[in-house]
Subunit: 182 residues, 4 copies
């Protein structure tokens, strides 16, 4: 049983073919987080007290599965940004339909059911899905950590403002990938 | 685009290995609905104005996909009740975590987004997931049809009471599979 | 602070002017529950470990307040069914918009925040708002008690079926007002 | 009936006694918006096609009513910031429990039910409740307008970043109070 986990590492929207508007600016930022994120995911896998969860947009296709999303991302413009952090078949995977990882998903239920009160948010985009998921975590009184080197932005200025908002107004700890599971 | 659909046919919890408590009583009832349900699904596929949706419990396993659920149901006690109505890979498929098809899923979002105001609820169990999904549809002001010969019960008395509740208190039309898409 | 409560007594839809369709059948049943319900509310008030909550429909008027609803119910057809159980100004009061006490309200948030895992559902209508609120409590893994002599029905047959559904399928304990807080 | 409204003017958290941390910085900003906001509320009242809604935090007290919140705000540090924009008893009023106007409230239900697709968000705090409510409006595909002179911030830098995020990432129109209902 999962009862031992107290922290969830939530990997958001990393299954991306990088073919959308702004994809280049985003990919530049993702390049820098792939290695720290890969390491963090690896450490999460090794620990009994960390629940690893992938939450990813279904891009409007309700017939898509985790495997379809992985395949499509690997066939996209930047497989090098996908392959190191792709979920394995045993990973918990929640499809989402909009920006927040909580909206229209079973994430809140899963966290409550498994009595997980701490979330580490990683992935993309800092000033969009990460920020919005942080907000939804905050209104639910979850404790939030965001490793600065494991979240990617499109706009550096708004990305920085988002981190400030999370820190000041949502009581998030802004940390690093190396230290966030210690 | 999906914009033409005005009705959704929602197939609930038919991917079942029939290994749980009460599975025998349920399977006896499912036997009688498989053929009308198969025909109804077939007609839905042929029509542009009907959105076919499968919603199925993930049985507590958040790593499971549609394909896993189909495979596991086909390997269960009653593949004959699964094979005729199994979703094809192009089918919209929403995993659910509790009884109602709305709770912890993107179903409400999908229906709103596609401007679908009418739902036909089919599958199992009449006095549980069907009833609870009907309630959640009713509070959202959706029009509900339930084909009596395409929903399966465990307890005949409670199944009948559930149909009465849906009809009297949730304004559902209790119909037949043959007529519900006309 | 409220931290000591572990049980909530949730009084549903008792502020009713009894002017709607079916009001007479309902009032006949409410007559029998007023005294046990009054006693139960009184005991809840005296106990530190019971959170007393009123949840009531706003009847579509979003400008209405608790005080308006009390006044309107007292001016209705059956003030004798309202006066003994009316909330005092210090009572927690949540307006609702549809049948379930959870839909479109802050009830889930309040229960989570105050770490309340047990709910006692009382009021009206057994086969409608009580049943639907029980379902929403059950999908959230709350423990449910329903005192048979503190819930009122419109249809005796459906009311009885609703109690059976709650007991068998939602793990509710069907109890009496006298014993449900012991 | 309300069916004619297509836009809602949503006044957020203006019933504030201004006694919290950061209240002074906030009040300085609110001073500048009171007059444009008062005018905007007045115009909304005069128009059949605009639904005026107040949504306000209950500050953790579930027994509080609209009238209590008005009274408490008028007795606070800055009645001059409250009196000109206080809701009258006929105003729709939704209590909220956390930052977003959508979380734990019936706002989504009300907007859907009244077929309102456009929202104008006003009040406080730009980089908190306004931003978070905008996000929740955006994921629900509502069209958003935010009059820059009718929203108040605590931190000018984060307030500005919040407006940029709403404009770029949530397709909000950043407008003025004078023009937003034309």
């Amino acid at each position: 049983m999962r009862g031992v986990s107290t922290t969830a590492l939530i990997v958001i929207d990393m299954l991306n073919p990088y073919e959308h508007e702004d994809a280049d600016a985003l990919a530049d930022s993702v390049e820098k987080i792939v290695e720290p994120l890969r390491g963090l995911i690896e450490r999460a896998r090794e620990r009994d007290d960390v629940r690893l969860l992938y939450v990813n947009d279904n891009y409007g296709d309700f017939s898509t599965t985790r495997d379809d999303l992985v395949e499509s991302a690997l066939k996209g413009q930047r497989p090098d940004l996908v392959e190191p952090i792709a979920p394995t078949p045993d990973c918990a995977f929640l499809p989402k339909v909009r920006h927040s990882a909580f909206y229209g998903t079973s994430l809140e239920y899963l966290l409550l059911r498994e009595q997980i009160g701490d979330v580490v948010l990683v992935g993309q985009v800092t000033e969009q899905c990460i920020l919005y998921s942080a907000l939804d975590a905050y209104v639910r009184h979850l404790k939030i950590k965001v490793p600065r080197d494991a979240v990617a932005h499109i706009d550096p200025h708004l990305g920085e403002a988002a981190l400030q908002m999370m820190e000041r107004n949502m009581r998030a700890e802004i940390v690093t990938a190396a230290t966030c599971l210690t």
